[in-house]
Symmetry: C2
DNA sequence: TAGAACGTTTAGTAAATACTAAACGTAGTA
DNA sequence: TACTACGTTTAGTATTTACTAAACGTTCTA
């Protein structure tokens, strides 16, 4: 392999590392995905060690996270007990998986914290000061309906089966 | 103010802190926004110190970031040299501002790293091995067109003037 | 049953990040 | 000019996070 090509691949995975970090994922996750995405064949854990510079442990945990998010698929060879990993190439599918993953964790909790507060207000907490009570009710209700809208959006994207470039184009046409 | 109400407010800002962290922003940013969002009147830096538990320095920098993202507005009183801050209540407006902010920074760079790699490939780097060269071209082109689609989406959202709940509903109707 | 070849888990460490405390700059005020 | 009231910047620190190295458990093989 030419040095230039090696360099190109390194730059690419470096770029993906940045993207990964940017979206709040570990840098290494991006790097691992990058290596897999540029590989024509599935790679074993040891091959990933060689190509990414990370150690087994790090790759083991990161690759598991990637699998959960649907960005990486596990494959095996008959008579070979190694695990092999390959990059998912349908990014729209991945988006759905990632949203689904996030939905269950922190996202739902965020919504709950608002509705919990709202509940208490409606039960009468703080109603001694009527104007403030009214103000808080208003604000929290507005926030809740915003979250509900987002939640609905996320849920319907997660449900979506045939999402792809045409879906994006349809949305674009709405946004004028 | 009742203890219950104080507690409710604290729980709420705690919740916003979590959300903030989740989306890759400092925890304190969420807390500051939470305090402002629950205040009927704009607050000064010192009032924020009292209500958020953070120090002046932290608030100064966080509030600036919030301003840039359009989540907080600065207001002043005549004959008073303090700065006063209030929460933006139009969240759709905020989304646009946040996307705009992010677009210019990391997001664009990510796209560039892909197209840079693609460029080199098309200039012939790595073409000694024809099948691999072809493979890499294919993969990078797919990734680039995905990024382009996202970029278009983000750009049109940023441009959007009257975004609101109806926009969300329109999109929902498309997603069936 | 012993050994080898795996992936996983853990304990410790390095690196990144957000904060505090205090110095600082600047602009109003006596 | 000196003093005060601000917001900002900086240097240092605490906390969090992601990683390494190594121990570990399990499964296959001789």
């Amino acid at each position: 392999m030419t040095d230039q090509l090696t360099q190109l691949k390194q730059d690419f995975t470096e770029g993906l590392s940045q993207i990964s970090k940017f979206w709040g994922f570990p840098k290494g996750m991006g790097a691992i995905f990058g290596v897999l995405y540029l590989s024509p064949t599935p790679l074993s854990l040891d091959e990933l060690v060689q190509n990414s510079g990370l150690t087994k442990g790090a790759i083991s945990t990161n690759v598991r996270a990637l699998s959960r998010m649907g960005l990486v698929r596990l494959s095996t060879k008959l008579g070979d007990r190694k695990d092999y990993y390959e990059a998912e190439t349908d990014f729209y599918k991945s988006i759905r998986a990632i949203l689904k993953e996030r939905q269950n964790n922190e996202f739902e909790l965020a919504i709950q914290s608002v509705s919990k507060a709202l509940e208490k207000l409606e039960e009468g907490v703080g109603s001694e000061n009527e104007t403030e009570h009214q103000f808080l009710l208003e604000r929290l209700r507005a926030l809740q309906s915003f979250f509900d809208a987002l939640d609905g959006l996320v849920k319907s994207v997660v449900r979506l089966e045939g999402m792809g470039i045409t879906t994006v184009e349809k949305i674009l046409s709405i946004l004028k």
